[in-house]
């Protein structure tokens, strides 16, 4: 029997048993829809994390004091004091793969203006900081190298701080606010950046010259960390190697000694985050894929019943000249058509379901094209795989017995 006739026969058989065919399709529909929704949520979250991180700058490198002891024992407090201003200066002078570098000293506390107060953090930085973070000043201006040299009590503040301290919309530029009772004159307001993907408010901060924060607030001689940006994202590796050698030389570390600082790149963080998202996606998709397996078994079950029920038809077809291969093709095509039709409907349901998910639960979603392609391939495989046994059972029938079957 040729292919067109096979399709025609399969369509007839499905049409003659509409409700039963729909029920066996239902499993496939639910399975495919579940896989697509899970993939869409996984992919969507991954893309949104990526977008957030790259918004922060993908070429950022952070140097922190102390050896890399993630999850290890608590370190001697002196180990956290290894980064000095001299390290910053040498990086600024010597590093070729670094465009911008900013030392960082930070402190959290209360900030007051008039009768209003808010809890925020102050970051002591150099003028490069905004370039590293790719932030811009919306009103007023950033402090200058001159301010740093003089440890001037000036600052640039984020939108949240403005909203908290100047609730009636007064212009904050030129006003003097107090952080831990030290007065700072506001000279600029940062452009709002909203929340980052970790749920942190990126507008709740004060940026001041690092010299000012070191001397007037913290009274410390070491740095909390150093932020740098590599000349390009691709040069991150080289930049890290260069930073390591500069800092080791500065700290006079022997060749066999461990680093007394840790370097992280944004790229590394992004990889960690996306691989976590990948793992979650895989777990979700595997769970959904099991429902496809169950659906396949459902199809096999229905096909086996259908073969037994149609024994007489099989006997007749064999008597009038159908070969075993014709019979097995007929049932295979039927199960493939059930599973592919189910797959198509499943993709549609999955698409609608994804829209509903992102609408109702505000989940970031994105349906990857390949997930649709994969669904089709999987459906065909299910159709062939679970249709094979029933088709074989039909093809192996003896026409003499089949035609007399009651």
């Amino acid at each position: 029997m040729n292919f067109t006739n096979l399709i025609k026969v399969a369509l007839n058989a499905i049409a003659n048993n509409k409700f039963r065919s729909f029920l066996s399709m239902l499993g496939i529909i639910i399975g495919v829809a579940a896989v697509i929704i899970m993939m869409a949520i996984g992919q969507g979250s991954k893309e949104s994390v990526r977008a957030n991180i790259s918004q922060m700058g993908t070429n950022i490198i952070m140097v922190r004091p102390g050896a890399d002891m993630r999850g290890g024992v608590r370190q001697d407090p002196s180990a956290m004091q290894t980064l000095k201003v001299e390290d910053y200066k040498s990086i600024q002078d010597e590093a070729k793969f670094i465009t911008y570098v900013s030392p960082e000293v930070s402190s959290s506390g209360q900030c007051i203006y008039g009768a209003n107060n808010t809890s925020t953090s102050i970051y002591g930085e150099s003028t490069d900081y905004l370039s590293i973070k790719q932030w811009t000043v919306e009103d007023g201006s950033m402090f200058t190298d001159e301010d740093i040299k003089k440890s001037a009590k000036v600052c640039v503040i984020g939108k949240t701080v403005v909203d908290e301290l100047f609730p009636n919309g007064a212009d904050p530029i030129g006003k003097t606010i107090r952080f831990k009772s030290i007065p700072f004159r506001v000279i600029g307001v940062l452009k709002s950046k909203g929340y980052n993907s970790f749920g942190m408010d990126q507008d709740n901060l004060i940026i001041a010259p690092y010299t000012t924060v070191m001397k007037r607030i913290q009274a410390q001689t070491y740095l909390s960390n150093i932020n740098c940006s590599a000349i390009t994202e691709e040069m991150t590796e080289e930049a890290i190697a260069e930073l390591t050698s500069i800092l080791r030389a500065n700290h006079k570390l022997k060749d066999d000694a461990d680093d007394d600082f840790t370097i992280h790149s944004q790229q590394e963080m992004m990889e960690t985050m996306t691989s976590t998202m990948d793992t979650i996606t895989i777990i979700l998709v595997v769970a959904a894929a099991f429902s496809l397996l169950v659906a396949g078994i459902g199809i096999m079950n229905i096909m086996l019943v259908s073969v037994t029920e149609r024994t007489k038809e099989i006997g007749l077809r064999m008597s009038v000249g159908a070969r075993s291969i014709d019979i097995s093709n007929q049932f295979l095509i039927e199960s493939i058509m059930i599973s592919i039709t189910g797959g198509v409907l499943g993709v549609c349901v999955g698409y609608v379901g994804t829209m509903v998910c992102s609408g109702l639960f505000h989940l970031p979603t994105s349906i990857p094209m390949w997930s649709i392609v994969v669904s089709f391939i999987v459906c065909t495989i299910i159709g062939v795989g679970f249709g094979y046994f029933p088709a074989r059972k039909a093809a192996m029938m003896d026409p003499i017995e089949a035609i007399r079957y009651e």
Binding site: N5, G315, S319, S324, P399
Partner: protein
């Protein structure tokens, strides 16, 4: 005999068929030999257990002999594979069964097209034309698109006969083709078979009803797997006359 000049359609030469039932061997056919020529209307009779069904399966190429030779239209069937026999059935044999065996929820014309679906030499258009022609030949030209569940027993059996004719077979094999029908409808079907006989078709009609033998040209009687009688019928009765003499049904 007059038939000797005609072409031999079926030739059985000492055909035996044994079945293993547990540890015993059952000899269903114990050396059957005969020839059937083109244009004969042969009834094969026998009681149950006589080997009638086994012989029918042999003639229909659904089974192969344990020993002996069977030639259908000059082709030896014994050594053929399953799919070769399927092809041979498709081209050379038309089956008519006792319980019609039409596809459910399927129109008359689609039922008749079925054998041609397995013949790649026919395209959809030729298939349809051949099916319509066969249905016209059995007097169902006005029932082409009726589904099998919308027809009476006699109509269904006529569709089945049309299906047996559609591939223009070398032989039509009828298995108790009137067994499920009332007397009147049985005669209507017999009239149709006699018409086909008159057109020169070769018909083998397996039955246990001795009456039918009177309407055929030759009668073979089987008993215990052997041929007991093989007689020519010089005085073939007309089924049409018999039908006319039947009392009219009370209501129709």
């Amino acid at each position: 005999m007059e038939n000797e000049k005609r072409k031999t359609v079926i030739e059985l030469d000492n055909v035996r068929r044994d079945f293993k039932v547990g540890s015993e061997t059952v000899h269903a056919l114990r050396g059957v030999s005969f020839k059937i020529h083109e244009g004969e209307f042969v009834t094969i009779m026998g009681t149950s257990g006589s080997g009638k069904s086994t012989l029918l399966n042999q003639l229909g190429c659904l089974d192969t002999p344990t020993s002996g030779e069977y030639y259908l239209d000059g082709i030896s069937v014994r050594t053929m594979s399953k799919s070769q026999r399927a092809r041979l059935r498709n081209r050379k044999i038309g089956f008519v069964f006792q319980n019609y065996n039409l596809l459910a929820k399927t129109t008359a014309v689609e039922n008749v097209e079925l054998p041609l679906m397995y013949n790649s030499e026919y395209n959809a258009k030729q298939r349809r034309e051949a099916a319509v022609k066969a249905l016209e030949a059995v007097g169902l030209a006005n029932r082409l698109d009726h589904k099998s569940n919308q027809m009476s027993g006699g109509q269904m059996q006529r569709v089945a006969i049309a299906r047996a004719l559609v591939n223009n077979p070398a032989v039509i094999l009828a298995d108790e083709a009137t067994g499920n029908l009332d007397t009147r409808t049985s005669f209507e079907v017999l009239v149709l078979f006699q018409k086909l006989y008159a057109e020169g078709r070769t018909i083998i009609f397996v039955t246990h009803n001795p009456e039918i033998a009177q309407y055929s040209s030759r009668n073979i009687v089987l008993r215990d797997g052997k041929i007991r009688e093989d007689t020519m019928n010089r005085n073939i009765l007309s089924a049409a006359e018999a039908l006319a003499q039947l009392p009219l049904p009370q209501d129709d």
